[in-house]
Symmetry: C2
Subunit: 329 residues, 2 copies
DNA sequence: TTGTAGGCGTTATCAT
DNA sequence: ATGATAACGCCTACAA
């Protein structure tokens, strides 16, 4: 393997000079920079990131903490897009990435988790799908051991940023469109989990809508489960004009229930997952660009690791009407 | 951070002794081993894997090369299960993992790719979804730079193993069941890609079946695309008794086409993906345990990195009849 | 502006 | 059986 030493020799300069060029330090003459750059090219030198991580204080290594839904595997579509978006952006930014799943440390304490991450020379982390119940992860995000970006949870601080769409606004808009278009007044709202940050924000949007439009609204928790949403719809669907759901998966469950009950009620989803196209019906939904959100999270983390303060970042979304033909290819 | 040095001091031994204990070398007295182990526990010491990777010759770092299907995102369900299975097993085996996607190096040469992997101190790789067209990756798998496990491609060699189910047998069995149960004679077989290793093996199975049962069979390539399978079925479906597909996704396309044509033909899928449950119909399929296959691949890679020779590993599968109610929860 | 040298936390090769 | 000590490849004061 060609190392920095070889480059230095080939360019006729000191190792430290090569290092300075590689890390674009200011005090290097153009001529020296040129010689080093040329040597790098000629030798096809690629810096060893492991050595760099060991040597440098601010290691450019990032951990992705992903909450893989082992039960309803269908929505794992989202997790994969998160992972993909993050890893691609990380490669652009020259950051190393390791991927971890919540299940790996569900029985660990914060201290153990921190020790593990430090043993991997991790400098920053991105957490996906954290809920209010995850004490350990919340502590991790709140602490000062790592730079941190949390997707979809409002845990902003000195070195923790949050990235997400405006769920209150998105839920408000997609529900309003569905309700206005169909002239509804009595709304069955199937939200996700009670202790989900996203669900809380979505509920805010729905509450505002209910106020503004003077709606009668029943709030139920579908736990992001297709089956639960189906059962809720079975029980209450008939008495309401429309079923608004906090996730596409639940919307699918609601729709199947309505079909079985043989009654029509407009259903509204949330997320814009591909899977929804396969049920063969249409519905309004909020399309989130999960890969894009994750890329944004990685950029934000990169900034944090370069000294920026944490903040609350909102990403764009679109309202869509998804149908089968949009999907297949 | 507590380092090996702290452990050594605390245990009253030399650093190298601690290292020997950690890596379970033979020549250490039980008493010393005990003192070191105790010190490790008391100090909550977790070895720094980055330093180990730098120092050690045979670095325990593994790269996952995943062929993410950017077009038909639906079947990415499989990729995620691969990733999950590999990462979980790697953690058990104390291997570090980085995940890469084919798209990241599609315009790179083998040499560039090798340099990149070496710059990351990668010692072994697992390749998912390689096809006969991927010259660079085939060269990588054939070379001697890394220990390598290839999932679903017969590229066995000195330090390259292959892990997969017996596709010829599986395709034979699932098709036979479908054909016998429905008493068919004329078969429309929609295979995947022409240059896919899996497709070739599946075709072997079908050829044998056609021979044994004296079937008339038309082979078409659906390119793993739901739409292509749909179009093929539209064109030829009517003249055949049954449609056998090389993937669930294509089976879904075929089924939708038949529904639209308003004719019944038994359809048979392959893979056992969750998505299939959502189309709301039943069909025979081969269920692969993708996470399990990937875990097996990681174990095999681990063995290779410990000096074993490459070989061809077959994993189990089951024939199943998937239906909606199996899925939702 | 450039070079020297110490250190990052391990592993591995020698002596002892 | 145990302990010095030199790598591993890079970063970074600090010196020149």
């Amino acid at each position: 393997m060609v190392s920095i030493k070889d480059v230095a020799r080939h360019a006729g300069v000191a190792i430290s000079t090569v290092s300075k060029v590689l890390n674009s330090y200011p005090n290097v003459s153009d001529e020296t920079r040129g010689r080093v750059t040329r040597a790098v090219a000629e030798l096809n030198f690629v810096p060893n990131s492991v050595a760099a991580a060991l040597s440098s204080k601010q290691s450019a290594r990032v951990a992705l903490l992903v909450n893989l839904n082992t039960k309803t595997q269908a929505i794992d579509e989202i997790s994969l897009q998160y992972i993909q978006g993050a890893i691609n952006k990380a490669m652009e930014l020259n950051l190393d990435v390791i991927t971890l799943f919540f299940s790996m440390f569900q029985d660990k304490t914060v201290e153990e988790l921190i020790r593990y991450l430090k043993s991997q020379s991790i400098g920053g982390i991105i957490i996906y799908g954290i809920s209010m119940d995850d004490a350990v992860l919340r502590e991790l995000a709140g602490g000062n051991d790592f730079k941190c970006v949390v997707v979809d949870a409002p845990l902003t601080s000195e070195n923790t940023s949050c990235v997400r769409i405006d769920h209150a606004k998105a839920q408000y808009e997609v529900a309003k469109r569905t309700i206005v278009d169909n002239n509804c007044h009595r709304v069955l709202y199937i939200s996700g989990r009670e202790n989900s940050y996203v669900a809380r924000e979505q509920q805010e949007g729905m509450a505002r809508l209910a106020r503004e439009m003077d709606l009668e609204m029943l709030l139920k928790y579908g736990e992001l489960s297709e089956l639960k949403a189906r059962n809720i719809t079975m029980e209450y669907g008939e008495c309401y004009d429309t079923v608004i759901c906090g996730s596409d998966l639940m919307a699918i469950g609601a729709m199947k229930a309505l079909t079985e009950m043989d009654i029509f009620r407009p259903v509204c989803g949330y997320d814009g997952i591909i899977l929804m196209g396969y049920v063969g019906k249409q519905m309004n939904t909020v399309r989130q660009n999960f890969a894009g959100i994750s890329a944004t999270a990685m950029e934000e983390l990169h900034r944090l690791m370069n000294g920026k303060k944490g903040e609350d970042v909102r990403t764009p979304y679109t309202l869509e009407r998804m149908k089968y033909t949009d999907i297949i290819c």
